[in-house]
């Protein structure tokens, strides 16, 4: 076939299209309109993912926690509540639980204050605001494992650049040994968690701030309210539902995270920074006791559930103000 005839055939097909009877194209269009087919199709990957990586492991963990399964002996023998009994008499478990709760509460509190302050700066109109917004979001885009390794260097017992700066300023002689002392190690974990969550929280809060109409701020200015009165009486109350959502995200991310603890301190010194996820990991993967590890991990569930329900209820109450 010569090129001109191909062209002719194509243009002929094009002009013939409007009156054409149902052809393949029309059938495709109909398929694209059938939501009953498309909806399950598009949902399928997510459903498979959630079943495979969330639901199955969750029930597996429940099953494991009532057996004596270990890495060396994968057979499931029923032992009733023995695992739960054991961990309730384990002082490290209680220390981990306490750390999990304390780290989460302090991290969320710090995150909300810093995110709110950062968001107020980000919504302000100034030169290079897009560059600043981009820079603020950067920590969030860094994989947490890499960021934690970077922090490990920052907090190194000998070569910590933070110590170096403090020494140069004459505020420190010798080394701080950030990760080697109980309270400093705990503070370090909290600081890194906060550093990681603040950008996301700030962007969430910023979106909430921008949804408050400018007229309301203007009206408050005219009504004689200065910065602090506007902040406490107008901005924060109107921003509360969004702050609650940011806090919920922060709480879940902190409470369920083991990466930061694992990379920075391995739970040390002497379990001072041990949290439930890391303790479950060390018990089951490093220690091979899958059953006890599962029982520890399951303790996260009711606590998270209570937290989520409490915050969602708070949000709903505020929405119906």
């Amino acid at each position: 076939m010569t090129p001109p005839s191909v062209e002719a055939a194509e243009s002929g097909a094009a002009t013939a299209r409007p009156p054409a009877p149902p052809d393949a194209g029309a059938a495709r269009a109909r398929l694209a309109d059938r939501e009953s087919v498309l909806a399950p199709l598009f949902l399928l990957p997510t459903v498979v993912y959630i079943i495979g990586l969330v639901i199955v492991p969750f029930f597996l963990a429940i099953a494991f926690s009532f057996t004596d399964v270990t890495a060396g002996d994968p057979s499931l023998d029923w032992v009733g509540f023995d695992n739960f009994n054991a961990i309730l008499h384990d002082s490290v478990f209680w220390e981990s639980l306490k750390n999990s709760v304390v780290f989460t509460v302090i991290t969320v509190a710090l995150t909300l204050v810093l995110a709110k302050a950062l968001a107020l700066i980000l919504v302000a109109d100034f030169r290079f605001k897009y560059l600043v917004r981009f820079l603020v979001l950067l920590p969030w885009t860094t994989p947490i494992a890499l960021a934690a390794v970077a922090w490990l260097w920052m907090l190194d017992s000998t070569y910590s650049p933070i110590d170096w700066v403090l020494r140069q300023l004459g505020l420190l002689s010798g080394n701080t040994v950030w990760l080697g002392r109980d309270h400093l190690a705990q503070a370090s974990v909290i600081a890194v968690q906060t550093w990681r969550i603040v950008p996301l929280a700030a962007v969430i809060v910023m979106a909430g701030l921008m949804s408050i109409p400018q007229d309301i701020h203007d009206a408050a200015s005219i009504d004689g309210a200065g910065f602090w009165r506007r902040l406490w009486e107008i901005t924060i109350p109107l921003n509360l539902p969004v702050l609650a959502v940011a806090g919920l995200f922060g709480a879940i991310m902190t409470f369920t995270d083991m990466t930061v603890v694992y990379i920075l301190t391995k739970g040390g010194p002497a379990n001072a920074t041990q949290v439930l996820p890391s303790y479950a990991f060390f018990k089951s993967i490093d220690g091979g006791d899958l059953a006890q590890g599962a029982a520890i991990a399951l303790f996260l569930f009711p606590l998270l559930l209570v937290g989520v329900v409490a915050i969602l209820r708070a949000v709903r109450r505020m929405e119906t103000m």
Partner: protein, 348 residues
Amino acid sequence: MALAVEVRGLKKHYRGGDIPAVDGVDIGTSEGEYLVLLGPSGCGKTTLLRTIAGLEEATEGEVLIGGNVVNGLPPRARQVAMVFQSYALYPHKTVMDNITFPLKAQKISKEERERSALWAAERLGIEQLLDRKPRHLSGGERQRVALARALVREPSVFLLDEPLSNLDAKLRTAARDELKEFQRRVGTTTIYVTHDQVEAMGLGDRIAVMYAGKVRQVGRPREVYEDPEDTFVATFLGSPPMNLVSRGDHLLGFRPESFLPEELVPGDGNRMVAELAVGRIEYLSGDRHVYGTVKGIGEETRVIARLPATVSTPIEIDETRRFAVHERDLRFFDADSGTRTTPRPVHA
């Protein structure tokens, strides 16, 4: 006596904008006056109001309130109250808390605040709504809460930014009456921004017509309507607007209601007669709007004649008929600048 509010040579240039939003405005309002800023969208009227309020900083020029220059002062130091187009009520506060909010900032005792709020609420007939949240109120009720919040501080000036535009047409008429009545009662100087000429005509003691950042004319409603200073004011006011017919170096203007069938315009030497080729007739609220092409007095131009319901002269589509305008109803504008110019003879 000092003017309640005065702006001198005011310019406002937004960052990033290539033309100024307000471009050299001089205007003043005397104590107790109701001044309306009227103009199409984007003419700078809201920017002017916001600059007076202190929500925008003037690029050039001065804002004076009660004779004192207030440039650089924050809104709260300016003794002004403002009602926004959206009302901008605080959604999380009750009506009572909304109204007392300005007093709270003045550190007035709770008792005193609530007494004042009750007083303001009674003036606006909303005392039964004090416990409600704004979202449980109708549009008209919200508007009154916004007014009460403005009133409670007993400001020296009210600034109203299109406060009626969010109300439906029926409510708007009632609310317009109430606003006028309210201002008469409290007697506070008011600057009112609107794009609606009916509101402007009905409410204003004086109207400042704005266009492209400039005040084109200031005057009593009757003055700006009957003696427009330029073709913009002539065609912006009036519905339908003033007819303009080009005649060489000038434009001839006449209102549709003064352009009537010849026999209805008495006098001989003091009227202008023209042929009107009738194209279309509309019946609106009893009046007849006759659309047609006018000939013999300048360039052939599409014009409108508005015949009141009392005129029963039969007029047919496609007929050509003699219409006339009394000389005192003729206005003349320069063809180049569009500004008012001296009367010319109209008899060829």
